[in-house]
């Protein structure tokens, strides 16, 4: 229930399109830390357009807070566009990797069935260990941890969340218009950066 005095906190997925610029991650992260907001998940990667990056950030706050935060992020010079959506508004996934001793998998047929039931896929097999992958919501990737724990789970890792906004044409068309109008710059490589010994210092 949402009322005026105690508006409900919930998960919001913030989508940020940015220039590919050193230091911008720091600028964006500071917008959260300054307000003492914990980032639950953060993913950043190149978008479909060269030179433009897409951030997916998950936070647990009220709608009022997320809308203010979104404006502050959009205010940053290198930020092109910010959206925020509830979990209902997006399709989201997280990927998880599980490392398990190979002998266990080989010997115990039950494990194989459990893996199949959980939609896991083998990504690497070595004589000493095997790596599985699943993709899904948190409960789904969590479920397989519980299954594999008794069989000697060696290592587990989960990715940040990626999300696609359901009700939007996406930013793709706009981005491509941007790119046509002003193609991204080639990055200047600094000739001094990797030549420590050869450069004269005063």
């Amino acid at each position: 229930m949402t009322d005026q005095t105690h508006p409900e906190k919930q998960e919001f997925n913030i989508t940020v399109y940015t220039e590919n610029q050193i230091g911008l991650l720091n600028r964006i992260a500071m917008i959260f830390s300054r307000r003492k907001i914990n980032i639950e998940s953060l993913n950043t990667s190149p978008s479909e357009i060269e030179g433009i990056h897409r951030f997916n950030i998950v936070i647990h706050v009220t709608e009022e807070v997320v809308s203010k935060i979104a404006k502050q992020i959009e205010k940053q010079i290198e930020v092109l566009k910010v959206y925020f959506n509830t979990n209902d508004d997006v399709i989201w996934q997280e990927m998880a990797l599980y490392k398990v001793p190979t002998e266990v998998i080989a010997e115990k047929a039950k494990v194989e069935r459990l893996l199949r039931e959980n939609g896991a896929r083998v990504v690497a097999i070595r004589t000493d260990y095997t790596v599985f992958e699943t993709t899904g919501h948190r409960e789904e990737t969590d479920a397989l941890i519980r299954v594999l724990q008794p069989y000697g789970l060696i290592e587990f890792v989960r990715s940040a969340r990626v999300a696609i906004i359901k009700d939007s044409d996406g930013f793709n068309r706009k981005l491509r218009e941007f790119e046509r109008a002003e193609p991204g710059h080639e990055v200047v490589e600094n000739e001094f950066l990797d030549s420590r010994e050869k450069v004269f210092t005063m």
Binding site: G23, K68, K71, E74, K75, I77, F192, V199
Partner: protein
């Protein structure tokens, strides 16, 4: 002194071989910079070396501390409306800029700061005087960037100036590694920047909101305008006045907005906020439509938000979309530069007078005069008040001077009582409240407006924070009037201790040096007075002195600034004593 023969700066024609430093200085010249405030050091030496040849185009003022340099840059920007330019070296030079950056960021002051940095190949090695300047200054700049290759300089500088001065202005810092300053490259010309793909300095004006705002204003019985510095930042003083005069709406100002409308304008009803005037604060909670123009509802202005103007429909004109609904929920947001939006609004509003409503403000003013102002400006007691000093100053300057204030009681008194006939005449540290601001900012203000009288009004606490800038005055020969209001206390803190901490005066008793002797040491004329009968003459002496002059006035030790909205109270709970 033996000096090298100076060479004229290399021609900036396309294809010329230029060093990064030369390219930087050319960029400054093209951007219209005439004055730089700075302090050299190892990591910025190539730029200073190149500066040696730019004497005719770029004046450099050697300050005594980088904090002084950046406050001077702020004063220059605020008095002139241009971008202030500041140089500092790496490490300690750069970190000394942080206070000024934070101040400029919160008060939206356009600055381009250039810091030297260690050689690129030493970055991240804890090299001598290396500091992560980009990391340190990220939260206090509108934009910052590190240049490690000279070829980046023209484009980055063009971007820096565009970002600093456009939209909601702010400070930009460019950190340049020493190799990039030294490196020679084929200069391809300098093109000023007016567009950045990901940067929207001005939101698109939405006509439907202008119409909705006009409708609210036309229906309003008790509309009330609050204005801030946005009016000046948008150079929209004339548009603002036209809007006010057509609508007949009473208008009050935040301290950052002071001067955008002359003090004597019949619709100017005074100052808002914690130490603002009684009427405007009380009436905020009476009006039916509140029209906020280029102001950001700072907590020092609003007091308790949950009791702020709850009865009113709110129209907020602002260039920064992030300001809309940040603190106060708006009924109609008018995104845009008020230079564009105000005329559109003026077209649609009806001509009105609001005589009775305006008269109510004047009634409150009378109440405030009787309870506070008369005694402050014309005290019966023997000791001088800060208010009467400002009152006398007003009489003598006739509202023509630029008043630069430091932070504390004198700041509130000066802002409350100073008469300002012109825009860009009140320079103060509003958002950060930085003690030590006034002396260097006044130096900068004078360079930014050399034809105007500049008076710095400073407390005995604040002046000791940047007093070394007397050296800058001495060396540059600039004419700044320094008025120290000495109450022998860190007055504003003492006032809070008196009112809210049972008079437990914890470390607010501050002793001062003999300021006149100190000034004398710097070759600056001065005088100290403690008798009322000397006040007018001493002020006259200060104002008519051909160069800088320091006047110390001993004022009542334990005087309080009233009215006051105590922290955590609603603006309508403003206390007259």
């Amino acid at each position: 002194m033996l000096t090298q023969e100076k060479q004229a700066p290399a021609s900036p024609e396309t294809g010329t071989q230029l060093s990064g430093s030369q390219a930087l200085l050319h960029a400054l010249v093209v951007e219209g910079t005439d004055t730089i405030f700075g302090y050299p050091g190892g990591a910025i030496m190539p730029i200073y070396d190149a500066l040696y040849d730019f004497e005719g185009d770029l004046k450099h003022i050697l300050v005594r501390h980088e904090q002084g340099g950046i406050h001077a840059g702020q004063g220059y920007a605020r008095s002139s409306g241009k971008v202030g330019v500041v140089f500092a070296t790496s490490g300690p030079g750069a970190t000394n800029l942080v206070t000024g950056l934070a101040d400029a960021q919160i008060d939206s002051t356009p600055l381009v700061c250039i810091t030297g940095q260690v050689f690129a190949h030493l970055l991240g090695t804890d090299a001598f005087q290396e500091a992560d300047v980009i990391g340190i200054t990220t939260p206090v700049t509108k934009w910052n960037y590190q240049i490690t290759d000279a070829t980046e300089i023209p484009e980055v500088l063009a971007k820096a100036f565009h970002i600093a001065r456009s939209g909601r202005p702010g400070p930009v810092l460019i950190d340049i590694t020493k190799n990039a300053q030294l490196q020679k490259f084929d200069f391809q010309g300098y093109t000023p920047c007016d567009h950045i793909r990901s940067y929207r300095p001005k939101p698109i004006v939405r006509k439907e909101y202008i119409r909705a705002a006009a409708e609210l204003i036309n229906k309003a019985k008790k509309p009330f305008v609050l204005w801030g510095q946005g009016v000046m930042l948008g150079s929209a003083e004339a548009e603002f006045k036209a809007f006010l005069e057509k609508t007949g709406i009473p208008a009050a100002w935040t301290i950052m907005g002071a001067g955008a409308l002359p003090t004597d304008h019949p619709q100017n009803v005074g100052m808002l906020g914690m130490h603002g005037n009684y009427g405007p604060n009380v009436m905020t909670n009476e009006c039916d439509v509140l029209i906020a123009i280029g102001m950001r509802f700072d907590d020092r202005v609003t007091g308790r938000l949950d009791k702020y103007a709850k009865q009113a429909k709110v129209i907020h004109l602002d260039i920064d979309p992030a300001e809309i609904d940040k603190n106060v929920k708006t009924t109609v947001p008018v995104w845009g530069d008020c230079k564009e939006t105000l005329p559109l609004l003026t077209q649609l509003v009806e001509t009105k007078k609001h005589t009775d409503w305006l008269a109510q403000f004047r009634e409150f003013e009378q109440k405030e005069i009787d309870a506070v102002i008369r005694e402050e400006l014309f005290p019966a007691s023997g000791e001088m008040t800060m208010g009467e000093v400002i009152q006398q100053l007003n009489e003598l300057t006739k509202g023509e001077a630029i008043i630069v204030t430091d932070v504390g009681q004198h700041q509130m008194v000066a802002c409350r009582y100073a008469k300002l006939n012109h825009t860009r005449s009140n320079i103060t540290s509003g958002g950060l409240g930085t003690m030590g601001f006034a002396l260097p900012a006044a130096i900068g203000a004078k360079f930014g407006a050399p034809d105007r009288t500049v008076v710095a009004v400073i407390g005995d606490g604040g002046v000791q924070m940047t007093i070394q800038e007397l050296g800058t005055i001495m060396q540059s020969g600039i004419d700044v009037k320094i008025l120290i209001l000495n109450n022998q206390f860190l007055g504003m803190v003492r006032q809070w201790q008196e009112l809210f901490h049972e008079r437990r005066y914890s470390f607010v008793d501050i002793t001062s040096p003999d300021y006149v002797q100190v000034a004398k040491g710097y070759g600056i004329a001065g005088r100290s007075i403690n008798q009322r009968e000397d006040l007018t003459n001493a002020l006259k002496e200060m104002l008519s002195n051909p160069g800088s002059f320091l006047l110390e006035v001993m004022v009542t030790k334990e005087n309080n600034v009233f009215p006051m909205v105590p922290q955590g109270c609603s603006v309508s709970e403003i206390r007259l004593k």
